[in-house]
Symmetry: C2
Subunit: 446 residues, 2 copies
């Protein structure tokens, strides 16, 4: 079926929530009892294909995003896939530069716009029978450059430089693709969740090591003495050769971060993640200047709200690892811009995973980066968390500590229908009889 014949006929937005707070999955000092959730977008077409995307949230607020996506979708009902695939930037600008909606700033607005954009990319890849990463790899450098909003990032990376970066990889595309199909991007995993005992952490490490992992993350931020003790415990458990990273989930201010991080110097850490606020660029610059000789660099990005924030973090040398998220900015177009900027400044792209289906998405970005942008796999690691893979029909696979290249067409984000139905908020069976105080915004943890 030709792309001009595939027309968007309707958009269904589903508020999917999983009461993960029941067993404290993924909690950290700020996000005390998350209920992993997604605003799921199904773009239906008259061609039988369905464009799918998600915006991950942690419970309350999923309805805010759903409301936004529904509002934006009225702009694409009736349009064809061809209109999109000929020039994806046109849709990007219709959404991001909407003369009235742009007043809403980033956050909910940019995330909702990203959902629409990502579902269109999904549809395109499906119409070609390719996984998303392969669609991206096959794009001409000029076409990629045309997808990007250069207006606010041109001082860090020009259109010509982007084309140069992409073109330099072209001669090796086939080779890199065949290298990465059996052994995809290297993965890493959090072994040291805040709630776990030493024994539990050790058991997690041993299990991960058996699966070929050599890089482990530990959550910090609650208690400085205990954090240092746990870092030492983990370093002793894995030996000095394997990679150890810590993650503070933005818990500190700049001065406080310095005091904590100072104590981490002896443990040969690879990175210190989110020591401070998500948009404190100058704070990251200051931290990075405070510890010039440390083994670690700073890492952030999972809550980076826009390419402008990433531009500053990358151009200034404030961070040493670029942790893009798949659903925080305005979809494939924004993420391509960020990955290209990271390539120019030689900062490894180490995407943020977890949640519901984030790993399913970021593996595509890892593939594209390592085949077609940076063109190597020497420095990157991609977060892997196996939470809730039972929710999707194409769970991520990991082998010998690496992702297995996804083969399902598009993002591979199809949800298991029974899972969707059961977890729909607020009327699915998981939610309807639940204590109202544990539902949505009413669910406070003080």
């Amino acid at each position: 079926m030709s792309k001009s014949a595939i027309k968007i006929t309707s958009a269904n937005v589903i508020d999917l929530r999983v009461p993960t707070s029941d067993n404290m999955l993924g909690s950290d000092p700020f996000h005390k009892e998350p209920d992993y959730s997604s605003a799921v977008l199904h773009l239906e077409t008259d061609g039988g294909l369905r464009g799918v995307s998600v915006v991950f949230t942690i419970g309350a607020g999923t309805d805010w995003i759903c409301h936004g996506i529904e509002d934006l979708c009225q702009l694409i009902i009736g349009s064809t896939l061809e209109e999109f695939s000929e020039a994806p930037f046109k849709l990007y600008r219709r959404l991001i530069d909407h003369h009235q909606l742009r007043w809403l700033h980033d956050g909910v607005f940019r995330m909702a716009a990203g959902a629409v954009i990502n579902a269109m990319w999904d549809l395109w890849a499906k119409s070609e029978g390719k996984p998303l990463w392969k669609l991206l790899v096959d794009l001409e450098p000029e076409f990629v450059a045309d997808c990007i909003d250069w207006r606010n990032i041109g001082d860090a990376l020009t259109r010509d430089e982007a084309i140069e970066i992409l073109s330099a990889c072209r001669p090796n595309l086939e080779k890199r693709e065949s290298e990465m199909t059996p052994v995809g991007p290297k993965a890493y995993c959090t072994a040291g969740w805040l709630g776990l005992s030493d024994e539990q952490i050790l058991a997690t490490i041993r299990k991960l090591e058996e699966s070929g992992f050599d890089s482990f993350k530990l959550k910090v931020g609650r208690d400085s003495d205990d954090d240092v003790r746990r870092i030492k415990f983990m370093r002793d458990a894995i030996g000095n050769e394997l990679n150890l990273m810590v993650d503070a989930n933005q818990f500190w201010g700049v001065e406080e971060a310095k005091r904590h991080v100072e104590r981490y110097l002896p443990y040969n850490l690879k990175w210190v993640e989110e020591p401070i606020a998500r948009d404190d660029v100058l704070g990251y610059v200051e931290l990075s200047e405070t510890f010039p000789d440390a083994s670690f660099n700073f890492a952030c990005g999972e809550q980076g709200a826009s390419p402008v924030i990433f531009k500053q973090l990358l151009k200034s040398g404030a961070i040493g690892y670029c942790q893009i998220d798949a659903v925080r900015v305005a979809g494939v177009n924004d993420v391509m811009a960020i990955i290209l900027m990271a390539a120019k400044y030689k900062i490894p792209v180490c995407p943020h995973g977890g949640g519901i289906a984030l790993c399913n998405m970021i593996q595509h970005y890892g593939m594209w980066d390592q085949i077609a942008v940076s063109g190597h796999s020497d420095t990157q690691m991609i977060e892997y968390i196996d939470f809730l893979q039972e929710s999707v029909e194409h769970p991520v696979e990991v082998k010998d500590g690496c992702y297995v290249a996804p083969t399902a067409p598009g993002w591979g984000l199809e949800f298991v229908p029974e899972f969707l139905e059961k977890h729909q908020f607020p009327d699915g069976e998981v939610w309807r009889d639940r204590d109202p105080k544990k539902k949505g915004a009413a669910y406070e943890v003080l």
Copy 2:
């Protein structure tokens, strides 16, 4: 009636939109056809008082904010004014640090939280029979400091420094208050809207001069040659002694901004407003270093999404004027933090006005700043635009180029009931028969 007896019984959120695009009021290169709008919050109490706040938007998306405010309000129904007024920071943290909602980032989430916080401050001021500025002026320095979230800004301003700044003004409070009651904060006005002819601009200037104004702003960004010509025209029209400012509404990238601004050097401008993206802190640093000897400084803030962004702009010396908005961040608590940071770095606070009822709010911040924080009126100017003052029961007053100190209790944000009814979206009489293509998100201008 005691504050403990005043209980929030219900929250009504009204989607108020005015089709200002019909006559292009307030348009700029990005916001091509704005419909000035507000998410209006009415917190009803059993004590007869009503807490009122607004979040200004420019049409589409007001429903997104309304949705968010309604969701948040379930956290305060049943609470008393006393619980708030004893420790406003408690409510601030319940909202901003909500363990699940905080995932939504700034933008819609922070604006909706600000609406709830601002309506509570309104209620408190009304219960004391004071205009908002007077309530703030009467707060003890320690109490103000306790309202502020220090976590991410302490490297720029400490709690002790804030108390010192406020305490230094205490001996002069009465004097400053009596000086500012007849003659409030100095105002400035935009005379050079993009759509206006030279004759219309000149007529606007002459009319404003007759009302005592000596400071005028011009919109730029559309065409460089014509912009320079219009700047020269306005400078010639007002002479070299009066203040001339230009505003580019974020239209340029950093390099482009340099080329445009370079041409403005001969015209003795006071400030260049929003040359680049709202959150490009390092871009502002670079611009400011590029023009060290210019007559002007850079100005921004009307779309500053959080105190962390303001912290960086102020601490780095990137901007010379701090243009807070009344409804972009999380209400009085965030704005107090920003005004205090500006005072420490001696950056004049020149709030962003216009829209619906923004001027009605920012006059209170101007009064508080100039009486109790910076404690002087030597360098500040507050934007004044008389749009839509017919919508409110206490319109702002300007005399001899200065605001007249507001006297109505609270923010003085009571809307004329007939205006509210007529402009309610989408069922009010102004909207119900309107072309659906000119309504909300469906209203595209490409």
